[in-house]
Symmetry: C2
Subunit: 304 residues, 2 copies
Amino acid sequence: MRDIDDDIPGSKENLKKLYPHTGKAYLLGVTGLPGAGKSTLVDQLVMVYRARGLSVGLVLIDPTSPFSGGAILGDRVRMQRHFTDPGVFIRSLATRGHLGGLSTSTNDIINVMDAMGKDIIIIETVGVGQDETEIVSTAHTTIVVLAPGMGDEIQAIKAGVFEVGDIFVINKANREGADRTVQDIETMLNMKRYADNEFHPQVIKTEAIYGNGVEELFSAIDEHRLFLEESNTLLNKYRERARYEFLELLKESLISSVVAAKGGEETWENLFDDIAKRRRDPYTEVELIIDEFLKNSLARPPKN
Amino acid sequence: MRDIDDDIPGSKENLKKLYPHTGKAYLLGVTGLPGAGKSTLVDQLVMVYRARGLSVGLVLIDPTSPFSGGAILGDRVRMQRHFTDPGVFIRSLATRGHLGGLSTSTNDIINVMDAMGKDIIIIETVGVGQDETEIVSTAHTTIVVLAPGMGDEIQAIKAGVFEVGDIFVINKANREGADRTVQDIETMLNMKRYADNEFHPQVIKTEAIYGNGVEELFSAIDEHRLFLEESNTLLNKYRERARYEFLELLKESLISSVVAAKGGEETWENLFDDIAKRRRDPYTEVELIIDEFLKNSLARPPKN
């Protein structure tokens, strides 16, 4: 088990060298409502893959709290049986800074694990928001974990995770209302018309804490993978990820470069003060910066 | 009730003109776990403010699903008693595009409502992720809504919402375990040392569906506002918001301008294909673009 929490100096250069060796791992995204038992399920999935001799990379997107003094240890404690297994590489990612970076750091660590030769990379999110949903939805197979009695089905949809699922897991299936939840999800899924090259998501019941249903989940993942390969849509997934990875990196690099070129955020304190006091407005100020930085380049015809 | 779902042409020019008239509204952020009853609570808060003759703007950050055919109507249905009230302006914001925009559109609509003269602007998020947490945390008072039996307290912390709360509401307080949840939250809050100019968050029990505890919540909000005014920290809040608003807008404008200057995303299809096939790597490609766009500007000394 290795767990690096700081950036490696020169890591961008390393990432460039690694990149040609990536693209072999299968990416599994796991999301769902807090309390549905995602971590326990992921823990069980890791065991199923390990039992088949496959190596696993695990990326936990895990916001931290100043109250808890940094990292949340919950997942790590739960995952500790894998800590001494050299076939499992675990990396927790904390909250991004306000200049962005959560998705870029996730992509970076996925690339490192991929180049290391991990067969399966599981990306588990703790939050259920825009960023997190986007990150897991660029995996090859995305699993949405729900539990019975977590509020009516509209809550799941509202959390924005419904449309990204290839497989829906109703965990804690021994609880009252499990069959009802399965039915609700299936009804929603059946409302959509599926094209021939579109996968009809599966709904699976599990009791991750006892390991029940985990083999079925493993088979469903394999089935989805097979579908992607046979329908020739796996390449589309790679292309979508390429687009996402590139644009996220471009966004982050642009803002960091412009902020750095202007002498860092500190040099803007007067501007922030003026905006706060309504002496200047952010719309005009941003326009001025865009003009300053892009005017030379904008004059040129686009090339590619 | 007006509800505009499309961008107004030339809105950036309008926003520039509006900006000097903003900064008067009090901003209330409401977040919390799905199923905690946020919408019902917000509905009750609107009534309390309206009963005091205050006008209210309501921004619902509400991811949409292709399965439900666009907007989720749940909140709107629940809010319908306010639809005919000219003192309440409701605006739902859907999912951002992949070039960003959720926080920028939220900021834009806050500015419009503020300039319109709304006394209170409530920003309610449905998701609990990075973006959503960031958006509500730039409000003047941030309310985190939880309910008993929603999973152990670590879940709330893990959702990344714990550190942003000025007021914690335990809604559905008639449910078993409410006092336990209150205690847990208070224990967590007491673990932190508070400086003199720092607010010790309050914990309040409500049963929003019956209107119980909503007056207490109203008072707690007022108390926090008074604290911000008396401790001279309200200006800090304005400055934080100015910084956030400016940097989010800059991020979005930079990526849009660069993408447009290069002829749009379509011109990059070959690049995405090459990255997908590992013929090129995103790190080098982004560096090339940054160099192209910023080299002229980077040579100049920073000015401000």
